[in-house]
Subunit: 215 residues, 2 copies
């Protein structure tokens, strides 16, 4: 895979969105698109799109546009979506079970290989195609399956100790749904936080700013 | 409520996080904190914190630090968390039901007043303290209850028409979980997108960048 070390974080953050829009185009049998058309679709400027995609070289041609399939595939490669990193889910409450059922892990670069919880109420339940296992078996499981990543759908209070336990088992990449800023305490961990509460408050702020007169 | 019109978007986006950290401090009975201590907790610089919080004036004192309760309350007011904007949930599948049960709407500025779906499989089910209603009754409900905001937990394919239908009913603020960029098509709508798929791909990219050698 080619390296793209010069690529800035703000470009990186736009990759999933490019990938999603290009995937939509593909599913509608669009084979090529100009930067102007793609820009209008995504509400970016054509020059920003050209700048972004030039980081990865060779997909646009003057007067021809982008090859949708090639660009989609290359952006997928850059993100490593073809790798199927083994991943465990910790916490099979409402949110955890929904994430396990709702997400398309395989097409996002992961393979969900195990689900763990410490509550007898959910241990043994089927979720998606997996059976919820007892947290007591986590060490043995990780030795055997070597997952690199974990989804944390656990209360804030146990997030720190759980992450610590996982780090010791070689799991240092986290998709973190706990209301806790994991990245602050674990140097060397790869963390993507999903703070749903922060997101809802952001919406609240926006509404408040748009409609200050509301009681 | 005081206006904060000069406040930049990047400060705004940090408000929920400040609010969360200050809330944690409050729950641990911390009554005041210096910008240096808060900075170390949140892994920001003290000067950034002072700059951010100076936008809202009057909470820090040289040599004393911030009054945690007063600052927490003021940031809550700025975000409008005390407003309880009435909100409906559209889509009571796995994700929708989980969001309804999982989120603390009241303390995030909202009140969930109705849940709607068009599937006979879920209509009539209890979710949280509400009963899932038939989408056919949406118009009558909105006339009566005047919700301003909606959570969209519906497939991408129906997101556009559903948003259009809601806009006509005066609902123009959206917490959007559909894999669809709602804000692009509706001028004047207030939209906060939660793209879980994009987030998972971002994690994948970060892992790929940290461990390029993995197969």
């Amino acid at each position: 895979m080619p390296k793209h070390e010069g690529v800035s974080l703000s470009v990186i953050k736009r990759l999933p969105r490019y990938y999603r829009f290009l995937g939509d185009l593909l599913s509608r049998d669009v084979t090529r698109i100009s930067s102007r058309e793609l820009a209008s679709l995504m509400q970016l400027t054509a020059s920003q799109i050209r700048q972004d995609l030039n980081c990865f070289g060779g997909f646009g041609q003057q007067g021809y546009g982008y090859n949708v399939a090639a660009l989609h595939k290359e952006i997928g490669n850059i993100m490593g979506l073809n790798k199927h990193t083994p991943m465990v889910l910790i916490g099979a409450g409402n949110l955890g079970r929904t994430i396990a059922r709702h997400m398309d892990f395989e097409s996002s670069g992961f393979k969900l290989v195990g689900i763990f919880d410490d509550s007898p109420r959910v241990i043994g339940q089927k979720v998606s195609s997996l059976t919820v296992q007892d947290m007591a078996g986590l060490e043995a499981f990780c030795k055997e399956q070597s997952p690199r990543a974990a989804i944390l759908c656990i209360p804030k209070e146990v997030a720190f100790e759980t992450a610590q336990r996982l780090m010791k088992l070689g799991v240092n990449c986290f998709w973190n749904f706990s209301h806790y800023d994991l990245s602050l305490d674990f140097e060397g961990a790869v963390v993507e936080n999903v703070h749903l509460g922060d997101s809802l408050m952001t919406l609240c702020y926006q509404i408040n700013a748009a409609y200050p007169e509301d009681e």
